[in-house]
């Protein structure tokens, strides 16, 4: 059953549908009062929702044109001057195109730069494979000093944006694109690095992130009475909440991980690393992109075709539970 401590929305059947990036833009505008905060963008002011900040705080906003590598370096230079700098683009370009700049200019020196990758996962659906980003978490997860955050929905993006602004050091935050059901509320507790037990259950542990949080909760709901599923939201993929992963693994012995990302290198890999390191033996299945690129199509169609939907999660859970 749903964990009341998490103060999720009252019913999964009555949810608002809102875009993560709107939550980001609103939070950024609030945070603009802090004079240390600067915002950079590479020709995607509207899409990344930084336009309102740009209007209100033009002195702390820079439009760099289509130049993501330079943007990352400029951010590092500003961070060296004591600023907290938000770098904005689509995930496929940032960190996709400026990985070396993220690694050397930002991460080596722990520059206080927040890289916000929009339209991650199937986000840029119709634009086709090369504008989608199913590899970003895998790319950046091995970078020392970098925190990796993947919020669940509009409300959680707001919370995460405030939290990463307050965190001293480099962060990558990914947001997936289309408007999605909002399942967390203003009251949902949020602490960077701390996993959230959204639903309690005893047979299968379902570990999810990003838009898969809603799909996972629906899947667990549909299975109720057949398989008892615990749902854990990992909004901070690095540093990962090891103790919570170990706890649910020891309890359920069966783990499904679902993410809008390649299976190789993503959240599932991160969870597996923890379990192997700690010697927790489980049966495990991973729901995500199976080492292929996407294609043009609506994001929801892509998630169904490439196996990252509620149905795919249900199938994995049933197989694992032998039902």
């Amino acid at each position: 059953m749903i964990n009341p401590e998490m103060q999720l929305v009252e019913s999964l059947d009555k949810v608002e549908v809102k875009a993560m990036r709107d939550g980001y833009g609103e939070a950024l505008l609030e945070l603009g009062k802090d004079e240390r905060l600067w915002v950079l963008v590479a020709d995607l002011m509207e899409s990344t929702r930084v336009k309102d900040f740009a209007k209100k705080y033009p002195d702390r906003f820079v439009e760099l044109g289509i130049a993501e590598q330079n943007m990352m370096g400029v951010a590092a230079g500003m961070a060296l001057e004591g600023k907290a700098v938000f770098v904005n683009s689509f995930a496929c370009f940032s960190p996709g195109r400026n990985y070396d700049q993220l690694r050397v200019s930002v991460c080596v020196g722990k520059a206080n730069v927040k890289v916000v990758g929009g339209h991650a996962g199937a986000g840029n659906g119709e634009d086709g494979a090369n504008q989608q980003s199913f590899e970003d978490v895998g790319m950046v997860r091995s970078l020392p000093n970098l925190m990796v955050v993947s919020p669940a929905d509009y409300e959680q993006v707001k919370r995460a944006t405030r939290a990463i602004a307050a965190h001293e050091g480099p962060v990558y935050m990914r947001m997936t694109a289309p408007a999605r059901p909002v399942v967390t509320s203003k009251m949902t507790p949020f602490v960077l690095g701390k996993a959230q037990v959204l639903r309690r259950g005893g047979e299968v542990g379902l570990i999810v992130s990003g838009a898969m949080v809603y799909e996972g909760l629906r899947a667990a709901d549909e299975l109720s009475g057949k398989v008892d599923v615990e749902v854990i939201n990992i909004h901070t993929i690095k540093p990962i909440d090891e103790s919570e992963i170990i706890r649910v693994a020891q309890k359920c012995k069966r783990i499904v991980v679902a993410e809008e990302h390649q299976i190789i290198g993503g959240l599932g890999s991160a969870v597996a690393e923890v379990l192997v390191k700690e010697g927790v033996g489980v049966k495990m299945k991973m729901v995500g992109m199976s080492d292929v690129f996407g294609e043009s199509g609506k994001p929801d169609e892509l998630l169904v075709k490439y196996g990252m939907s509620k149905e795919a999660i249900i199938k994995a859970i049933k197989e694992l539970a032998g039902k």
């Binding site: 002195d59 820079v62 760099l64 044109g65 130049a67 330079n70 370096g73 230079g77 700049q101």
Partner: protein, 273 residues
């Protein structure tokens, strides 16, 4: 000036000693730029204080071409940012003198550099903050000429020009040399001056071995209004050591013990003159 030229040769000696001690590193560029680095710090072209290395009011010196770091390390030690004896730890395990600099690994090291083209973006970021917050400090960014082949560099120039960063001085070591050979054979840069001017930079050219001329050029740069400046520093790689001068093979290697003895003998002679 002759005093500074003598200092520059002492810096060259330090560079040779550091590199032969560890047996790796980039010799040619560091020797070629020794006069410039001497002028910059010991000639007072930047306001920095070894006793207060992170003073907010200091000028920012950004090394973009990280492989020149032996020259900067030697000059910083000469200035008293850290003890000279530490120079011999270059590139060794547990040393603060990294093979390519890491931000604040040493007093006076402002940024991380290595993959070429990254320092200039950081310098532009600093200069934007400095300009918008009306700071008096200036930013000097030192680059290699081969480095100009990185696309990121031109992204940074476009932004520096757009933001009218008169507080930014870019120094390009035009020594015509990169690892694979002469720049004009590996990937032609000319007409470099025209390219830079077209990107909105105010361009100066100077003999990088004439300390007096370098200082005069910096005085001119301070008069430039509303645009970033570039100084094309014409140098000979390996300068000061006859058997290294102008030879591409000395770009990325350190001298052997015997070569170092010969190099030091030659540099010592110059000192005696």
């Amino acid at each position: 000036m002759s005093e500074l030229h003598e200092k520059a040769d002492e810096i060259r000696e330090e560079i040779i000693k550091m590199l032969v001690n560890v047996g790796s590193g980039h010799t040619g560029g560091a020797l070629g730029a020794a006069d410039f680095w001497t002028a910059l710090y010991l000639g007072g072209l930047v306001r920095v204080d070894p006793d207060n290395p992170w003073d907010e009011a200091r000028d920012r010196v950004v090394l973009s071409a990280g492989h020149y770091c032996p020259a900067q390390y030697a000059v910083l030690a000469e200035m008293g940012f850290f003890e000279k004896k530490e120079l011999m730890s270059l590139r060794q395990i547990n040393s603060r003198l990294q093979g390519h600099p890491v931000v604040r690994c040493l007093p006076g090291i402002e940024n991380t550099s290595g993959p070429l083209g990254q320092g200039i973006s950081q310098a532009v970021g600093m200069a934007i903050v400095g300009k918008r917050e009306r700071k008096q400090w200036r930013v000097v960014c030192f680059m290699g000429d081969g480095e100009q082949q990185e696309g990121q560099v031109w992204e940074a120039y476009m932004l520096a020009s757009k933001e009218r960063l008169a507080n930014l001085t870019v120094v390009i070591d035009r020594n015509n040399m990169q690892i694979d050979g002469r720049t004009e054979e590996v990937m032609p840069l000319e007409p470099l001056r025209t390219k830079l001017e077209t990107f909105g930079m105010e361009v100066f050219e100077v003999d990088g071995h004439e300390i007096g001329s370098i200082m005069e050029t910096f005085a001119k740069v301070r008069m430039v209004y509303e645009r970033p400046s570039v100084i094309l520093l014409h140098t000979v790689p390996g300068k000061g050591v006859g058997f290294m001068e102008g030879l591409v093979e000395w770009h990325g290697k350190a001298p052997s013990a015997a070569e170092a003895v010969e190099a030091l003998r030659e540099l010592g002679k110059t000192e005696d003159d």
